[in-house]
Symmetry: C2
Subunit: 226 residues, 2 copies
């Protein structure tokens, strides 16, 4: 088992059968000890964060696989805080695909002149490059095509898949009386197939209950212990 | 003649016949006395800047009108540094449409991991909101539609028109041995018609001769005095 990548919140190992093993850490993105799913830096280490992450990821990926959504997920081992996945290639050095049901976060910061805070959005999709040095710049369908990162046809598939998956996630959260405001995904290619990759945990989404933001570790409890 | 708008580089007056008169100033965008067409602030005042702007704007709009491009331009008075235009409504509080033939400026700053500086681009189009407080945030076709600023159908028209006009501009500059790297336009609606508005001057574009950036006032001389 060979370490092939050391990430901010997990390490990636190559397995002998060609698949990968992801080992989750207890580090969370944020700044100065405050958790922020929108940040690029590791801001704090919370005991149990890795375990919460793998439990939620396992829970959601199994729902998605059952519904026929193409994903990289094979299985997860909660005790060892690991997940086995198929070997997908990222688009460029990684592309984040955000789906928004309400105007909060950077969407509201950018477009506050045209929208009320938390106004409903119709599964609006936008994409940003994973590039810490350039603060994850936003990128359009046309630019992705011009830079050879993703073809226009692939973009349309990724957008449709994102809206489908985000809607499944929204419905799952609604069953627990929690509202999904926005969520970010990452996709990859396995041959010609486009699949959902990475994790699906509290750090990937903004969820609210009774108008109050739900912290990631609380979200895990709300979803899995109710 | 009633002053209806005071801009950074020009004032706008309403005429009795329903048209508008634009009066150009000698102020240029930039910072600390250095001209920068990408900036939002007035950085310096250069004597003759207004006159250079109106001369170039008149020159280019007359070429475009002749080629059947829909614009707001009626005529210009170089001595009085004014231009008469049809009354167009901006998209939202104003939308800048950028067309890029080479990867420089903010495009290169954002996507430098995927493109060489000054690499050719195929009349790539992107849009930013005019919003000084939010530093002109980039915005996608989908977001423009969701926020009610521009319909997807209008976006497609504006994109095609932008590529057509930018190519005309590129050809005009090439006649003067100058290469157009990028250019920004603004469009507006007159009823259902979409027309090119604002000005077309050195401050709207990056032009290079023999690999060297041409300053706006030099550009005026190169285009009009050769």
């Amino acid at each position: 088992m060979k370490l092939v990548y050391t990430g901010k919140t997990k390490n990636v190992y190559a397995l002998d059968d060609g698949n990968y093993l992801l080992k989750f850490k207890d580090d969370c993105t944020g700044a100065d000890g405050v958790f922020d799913p929108g940040m690029n830096t590791v801001g704090l280490t919370m005991e149990g964060a890795g375990r919460a992450c793998i439990r939620l990821t396992k829970y959601f990926f199994e729902i998605l696989n059952q519904k026929g959504i193409p994903t990289h997920y094979i299985d997860a081992d909660v005790d060892n805080v690991t997940m086995t996945v198929r070997p997908a290639k990222t688009f460029g050095a990684g592309l984040e695909v955000i789906c928004r049901f309400r105007a909060v976060g950077s969407f509201y910061r950018r477009y506050g002149d045209y929208v009320e805070e938390a106004a409903p959005l119709p599964a609006f999709v936008e994409t940003t490059l994973k590039d810490d040095d350039r603060e994850d710049p936003p990128i359009t369908k046309d630019a992705l095509g011009n830079l050879g990162i993703m073809t226009p046809n692939e973009y349309d598939k990724v957008k449709a898949l994102t809206q489908q998956i985000a809607t499944i996630m929204k419905d799952e959260l609604a069953k627990k009386n929690t509202e999904l405001y926005d969520i970010k995904f990452e996709f990859g290619r396995i041959g010609d197939e486009i699949v959902l990759i990475d994790e699906i945990s509290g750090g990937n989404m903004r969820a609210y209950r009774d108008g109050e933001y739900v912290m990631p570790l609380e979200l895990e409890k709300m979803i899995l212990d109710n």
